[in-house]
């Protein structure tokens, strides 16, 4: 069959996560820190509204762009929390997770010959989606000694005039890095100078533990240059509902909606109804989850540093990204041996790009007890190797 496949798809490398997933799946008694989703269950009020909508018989398609009521709530939320102004009728599209929005944006914008700049390391889907859209990808390395922030120097090194789109993804998966307003302003100037569009995936924006999150689109002159992506998966613990959104210039949203209309039709109505409830009534539940993540974050950073690993302080998302080179192991060997010897699963940093070298991603979306047990095991593993 293989020779029938579209060569672009056939040659797409399997995600580095996948390999590790298969390995873990064969083992038992694992404590996993390998998960990129909340351990919390969706707040009850949100689940309840989904259940109620089913009881009411809300089982139909919605408009392609999503329920207007949801788009209105979203524009209110974006205005209130991040100072972003969008028209709910023309500038918001409700998608099947932020994942779909990434794909739509790339397909709506890119043609063969275009280049997309992607920070490295980052979430796994930007490069492959760009490749599928026929564009080229250049990774922009970020480094631990710069707290994994993207800097203009790094961009300049890989920039070429074919570059059309720059992906930003902060707070970052896998590093937990954030970018403050001061960090973002030079990037905005760079984008304006080189006429770059920005795809800003801010799905972890509510999980910011110091200062307040700055939306890239809120920077002077950036609104119409930026496609703002986010979703409910992380901040409302709603990964399985598959609900996200894109906000941006009406022309781009319209183009994305055209693809969405033919390929997806609309996001599931139950999830849309639940998302409305999330925005209206789950603010307090969200705040409590964020507070809990913050406590666990400190626990993890402290624990990893205590055992002698160097670990920059992540200020967003729910990941820590310790440097494990002191153990003399590569990130892949570290993850594999840790799994076999102590039954703790972490993800090799290189699963998120070459700059993840020498690091592993540990998620702290786990209970304090699990984290403490995992830290104890990692410490035992590391001890003999430092």
């Amino acid at each position: 069959m293989r020779h029938y496949l579209n060569p672009t798809v056939a040659n797409l490398p399997p995600s580095g996560i996948r390999k590790f997933f298969d390995l873990v799946a064969t083992m038992e008694g694992i404590i996993s820190l390998g998960v990129g989703e909340p351990d919390f269950v969706t707040p009850w009020t949100v689940r309840e509204s989904g259940i109620f909508s089913l009881e009411q018989g809300q089982t139909m398609y919605t408009s392609n762009s999503g329920l207007l009521e949801l788009r209105q709530e979203l524009t209110r939320y974006l205005a209130k929390t991040q100072g972003l102004m969008y028209n709910p009728e023309t500038e918001i599209l409700v998608t099947v997770g932020a994942s779909e929005a990434v794909d739509l944006a790339m397909r709506a914008l890119l043609s063969p010959g275009d280049i997309v700049l992607v920070p490295d390391p980052s979430y796994v889907s930007y490069g492959p989606c760009a490749t599928l859209a026929g564009a080229g990808v250049r990774y922009v390395p970020t480094r631990a000694d710069q707290d994994f922030r993207l800097r203009v120097e790094d961009l300049e090194r890989v920039y070429s005039p074919e570059a059309k789109l720059l992906v930003l993804s902060y707070p970052n998966n896998p590093t937990g890095a954030i970018m403050t307003r001061e960090d973002l302003l030079p990037i905005a100037r760079f984008a304006a100078e080189h006429d770059l569009l920005i795809l800003s995936d801010e799905i972890y924006s509510d999980l910011t533990y110091q200062g307040t999150h700055t939306a890239f689109a809120a920077l002077p002159g950036m609104r119409d240059r930026t496609l703002h992506l986010s979703g409910f998966s992380k901040s409302y613990a709603m990964t399985g509902w598959r609900i996200g959104y894109a906000a941006g210039h009406a022309d781009l949203i319209q183009a994305m909606t055209r693809i969405h209309q033919y390929t997806i039709l609309c996001a599931p109505i139950t999830a849309q109804v639940a998302a409305i409830e999330a925005l209206r009534a789950a603010e307090q539940a969200k705040r409590e989850m964020v507070e809990t993540y913050d406590h666990r974050r400190r626990l993890m950073v402290h624990g990893l540093r205590e055992m002698g690993l160097s670990c920059f302080e992540p200020l967003g998302a729910f990941y820590v990204f310790p440097d494990i080179t002191a153990t003399g192991l590569s990130e892949e060997d570290f993850a594999e041996q840790l799994l076999h010897e102590e039954k703790v699963a972490v993800v090799p940093g290189t699963a998120f790009g070459p700059s993840g070298k020498g690091h592993v991603r540990c998620s702290y979306a786990y209970s304090t007890e699990q984290l403490e047990e995992a830290l104890e095991r990692i410490s035992r593993f590391v001890k003999g190797r430092l």
Binding site: S32, G34, V35, S125, N173, R298
Partner: protein
């Protein structure tokens, strides 16, 4: 006004009072000394009243009966409801006393070993008290949730993937 830091500390302790100042310090980033001092102050000010576990007696097999009792009382001149409430709270059988709005004035939580024992307490101790006009006893049949903790129906152990992006 309670500061954000203090509120966080109290909430962590409320969830698990075994956390030591060292552990609290790791999780909050506040210094051990500061936390120890604060806790000491709260203990003195009776903000932290006691440290104790939440026990689900229903699981021990130990017989225990509780009842919620609504009480109508005549407020006393110069004292309002305080005098009678203070008197009631002295009874060891009465675990909680609340002044409430609505059709009744006080709401009590009473515990005993048997229904008989609780009923007797109401008939012999509570109802005859001066100023108590009437009572309505509601026996607790099952405890589903207490102090914010769900005691039954632990349905929420969903399966997550072991590794995901």
């Amino acid at each position: 006004m309670l500061s954000e830091q203090d509120r966080r500390l109290l909430k962590l302790l409320e969830q698990d009072c075994r956390l030591t100042p060292q552990e609290l310090s790791i999780q909050t980033g506040l210094s051990v000394e500061h936390i120890a001092t604060r806790i000491h102050e709260w203990e003195k000010e009776k903000v932290i009243v006691q440290y104790r576990p939440l026990i689900n007696w229903d699981r021990t097999g130990d017989e225990k009966v509780s009842a919620l009792i609504d009480v109508k009382v005549l407020p006393q001149r110069g004292f309002g409801f305080d005098k009678i409430a203070r008197r009631l709270q002295k009874f060891a059988e009465i675990k909680a006393v609340y002044l409430i709005s609505g059709g009744y004035d006080l709401s009590l939580l009473i515990e005993g070993r048997t229904m008989q024992e609780v009923a007797l307490f109401v008939a012999e101790k509570l109802a005859p008290l001066e100023h108590v006009q009437s009572t309505a006893t509601h026996f607790v049949l099952r405890r589903y949730k207490q102090d914010g903790v769900e005691l039954t129906g632990g349905d929420e152990t969903p399966q997550r993937l072991m590794v995901s992006p």
